[in-house]
Symmetry: D2
Subunit: 364 residues, 4 copies
């Protein structure tokens, strides 16, 4: 499958560049009969919008979504939902300098290596703005999952050395860095101030928890639910690591501790005493909370002087102009949630015929 | 694509259960004209064979591969290569106990939740033996990549708390835990002895380095080379985390440090001063060593008494019989290498037409 | 893969309904470095535009395409090319009648059966306007193939009982029915006049010839070039039959006659004396002209009174209002050519790594 | 997706060559809980076995299938079902002649053009024996569909100029050419006698009818049920044309006649008065009998002297040795049925989530 499509039944195809006419996504395979309007999408898009705080770029972009197809009488029809966000901030600008060299930490060089040339305006296709399509699609996936009672809680777990130590879900929307811990959020913001004063940038960890996922979702071999989630996460620009449940910490644990024991509760429901596995066993959901984390690298665009090369064969020094997010973690929170929702919904659609009795339930 | 197939052009389809008649794989899309024989495959399979040391199961299985198709005159023909490994160790045994309960840390419960019932003999399809097909296919991918000068170095980076501190490639094959550091290997083995005496198990980290990958491999959005590698790694049973380059450590770094500076060396070749990115920028290889890591959980099968449930609704205690690997990390090293090779080769085949000039080179 | 995407590497995703805001397509996997502008697309779209003759609907629609992404400095960048055509002719209209019943020969009933409800305005997603996206994408595929010297000749072979008897390529654009035979075209138009006077409609056969396709394109088993072409053709609304080369006529032939004999010409080039196979042997192109045909049914929308049912359980009589094409064959010619071009290009991209030496040519 | 895999959820991967060690298939995505044994498969395989009559090759091959995985306690487990048929008739033989030239009507030349060389023993991968895997998989698909009451009736409609004129389902198995008309069958056999005496061969048409398919199966755009069936049919070696319902005859019909009128019968069930559409409207099943036809070319292997070329640049005459089927139509009947069953089942699995209420039915 070509590189801008993700998913098999619920499949999304994103398009667009940072400084082209616009960006968008076609969402195919959405079940028919789900109430949906532009406001449902806009709410998600607004969570990744720039200019929300002083830790994100000052560009004022409306990022207003237009739904072009696939909705009738306020409901999804089962046919492709095409969504468009026009680029507004296309100030004419001189790109000749940025066109001439390769920015460290960016995809400039690798694009040239692969395609022979590149759209160098604002990062082109590898800009963070590419995620607009993912988030618009994620809003739909989340809505569909919501109809089945499945909910998400996604937030910043750490920025640089500052990690959230307490968890208060209601706190997340209260601070500019989307942390579930007000005190940690304050320290993180202080840390970001220092980064900015040093013309430097920070990374961090995003955590996503998914609740009320029924047991039995995902495949046992290559299309493990966690394998698909790992691809979804690592496909987000700047993500360099992915964990499920305890993640890398399991390597320091032992079997006796790491195995989650099963038990029946008073209502004779099967439960697990712990959830080191993060809700997935053998690639298939076990009915517990699904927990995943993505490691986001420090913003590559920094104002400090850097050494690099130009295309005419010289070693040079550069200073990248413009204002840049000192950290992209808070804006990427909704991207992580969107990709997780898209992945989960597709797995659920793919697995509907796992049992013969399910086919008979639908078709007989 | 159904769950037992991986890859798009170079695509592998594995099949088989732990205690069925056998296991195998069909490898489709292998370029024609590559010299290949059963010995090429066997060398890889022997790296994952049980009974290699006292840290792996004592089962004596030949795991002899038979190539059934796709080779003619000693070379690949471009048509599917079907490979079969018969199960030899199918001692008749009483499985009624294991059939009745759900082992903690295993996929027993989730299989039942998804499919309604399961092949409970030795873990069935979710057994570690499923990787036989992956490794047989990986041997082919590695051979094809070798024809282009691409090579792999894969090893155990850590077991439990013991991490390799030095790197001597030639040391890897010298110790039972496949570590590139003899002293760490000795400590790791001591740690495993303790685990075994406590009827417990350990996890660890596997690291894979790929050399001489040309720049320009991978796609910029969903099919990022690292995204596909992440799926490949997380699809291996027991893997709970994946990292590319510095991985989670980037979240503690900053932009100035984490950005790999480009420079031209004396031979006017473009180089990077550091490789925090692990050879991939924006999803596309940058010509540097590709580095990835997988976190492997402690073996779920342990001899200690555990609490769990049976299918008749009772909370019970169990003691899993049989000898089990106290750690699967060393045997999984070749599985990691295989999945990485398969992923890389498929990305290379998918990207051959990225430039119009390439099409003309092949077809005009 | 979800139902609105076609192709694996060169993959297109269409979206849009007859009377929604617009229609479009995202073309992914187009090789980078191909000169492309809106005019290239418009030329193709104009070939399917309504209002070209009195045998097509009188709706005046500009169907002006806008390229939203994927082009930079006048060349394809290798990233998705998103194209949009706004619907202009969205007169407010009363659809309550058409919403209440199922038109014979249309997808009204089957949409309701599948999705539970439907966008009934002008056929919604199953309108002929859906092909706008295919044609816009086909224009790109044809352009890329043109860079390799591959060309198309597509035309109306028959309308109702009238079949072209001579072949003059230059004649095709000269008559309203796109026939390569002026006399037959005149007879066909007379036949259509009769159909119209009887409030009836006609079908016909479209033929597509592709020249200068190198030998070796296509796969030997499921992804035979002809198999993929057959899917491409049958996916066009109203197509009920597909033939390659002599098609159904082979069943009346015999082996001695139907086998195309090979010979070397004076320039020692391998040739075939005949081309009953239509340029494809065992699913793979043999270097000869590729010939395919699609059977198009008579337009389902006719003004005559018809019997059908409404959704409230009654058997009723209906008269479908509005002007309708008495035949869609001429407008579908460019759709056939587009789908053929898309299929062929994707097969060429998929097959670039069929030989090890090709990989070395590109990557070493 | 690579070329030896067909289907998305219910997906089959075939492998093997005519004169290699064996042939087989891996069937993935089969719903769990379906009773299945080797005898179910063997019944299908026996329908394509050589040596059934004097119109098929005299080779005595058992073609005994062995199920290697995916079945437990007599039922499918939802995991891959691997099936193997060993080649028995591998008489050592001198292939040097056949290796040196290109047989007319065969894929010899196109294989060389694509892959650089070929397995020339008995046609290698493009042998009719490749269909063994399809038929073994088709047996499973038919079994699953049977659980939902869906049944098939497939037969020879014509051989050369002889077409079945009456339809008696019970007659099909009574004659060597699988025709539903005893008199036509007798004439067809006489025609074949003449072909054989002239060292020549014949083609024919296979027709497949599928009953009790619920309305609503298939997708409205590229994955139309008929589009997928067309690919399935054309992917069978020797098929050069495909029709749905009235097929090419629709081009001679008119709208008034070709539109199938809907009506409610006495039981208030929606029915169609005619079925020109062959049970599919707009790519989606309409609840009526699905009707499709495949045109099969005359067997390419004939004993008559033919002109062709050798690989050393000479125009030569050849006489292909061995006994060959004068017609492959009767043996291909079960291949057509198998591919139709596989396609239909996959479409049903893909479409289970077309409506939101279906998701809730399965997951809530």
């Amino acid at each position: 499958m070509s590189g801008s499509t993700f998913g098999t039944i619920f499949s999304i195809t994103t398009w667009g560049e940072s400084h082209g006419k616009g960006l968008g996504v076609v969402v195919d395979g959405c079940p028919a009969g789900v109430p949906l309007c532009e406001e449902d999408i806009q709410v998600f898009l607004d969570r990744r919008k720039p200019g929300q705080s002083r830790y994100t770029t000052a560009r004022k972009e409306g990022d207003q979504v237009e739904i072009l197809s696939g909705i009738f009488d306020g409901k999804t029809t089962g046919t492709p939902i095409s969504m468009l966000v026009r680029n507004e901030d296309q100030r004419s600008r001189d790109y000749s300098e940025i066109a001439s060299y390769y920015r460290p930490g960016h995809a400039d060089y690798t694009f040239d290596a692969k395609y022979g040339f590149r759209d160098y305006r604002g990062g082109g296709r590898s800009s963070g703005r590419e995620t607009i399509g993912r988030v618009a699609a994620g809003a739909i996936a989340a809505k569909v999952l919501g109809e089945m009672g499945i909910s998400f809680c996604t937030y910043t777990r750490s920025i640089g050395p500052v990690t959230a130590e307490s968890f208060d879900c209601s706190e997340i929307a209260n601070n500019a860095v989307y942390m579930p811990d007000a005190a940690a959020a304050a320290r993180a913001q202080q840390y970001l101030e220092t980064c900015m004063s040093q013309k430097n940038s920070a990374g961090g960890v995003i955590e996503c928890r998914i609740n009320h996922v029924p047991a039995g979702i995902g495949d046992p071999v290559f299309n493990k639910l966690d394998a698909n989630l790992a691809k979804a996460m690592m496909s987000i620009g700047a993500v360099k690591g992915v964990e499920i449940g305890d993640g890398f910490a399991v390597t320091q644990s032992n079997g006796l501790e790491n195995n989650d024991e099963f038990f029946y509760d008073e209502d004779h429901q099967l439960q697990k005493r712990t959830n080191h596995a993060g809700g997935i066993l053998g690639g298939i959901s076990d009915g517990n909370e699904i927990i995943l984390r993505a490691a986001v690298k420090p913003t590559a665009s920094i104002s400090s002087t850097q050494h690099t090369v130009n295309k005419t064969g010289e070693n040079i020094e550069i200073n990248i102009k413009g204002r840049h997010d000192p950290v992209i973690v808070p804006r990427a929170v909704v991207v992580v949630e969107s990709m997780a929702a898209i992945t989960l919904l597709d797995s659920m659609l793919m697995g509907m015929g796992a049992k013969m009795e399910n086919l008979i339930k639908i078709y007989s």
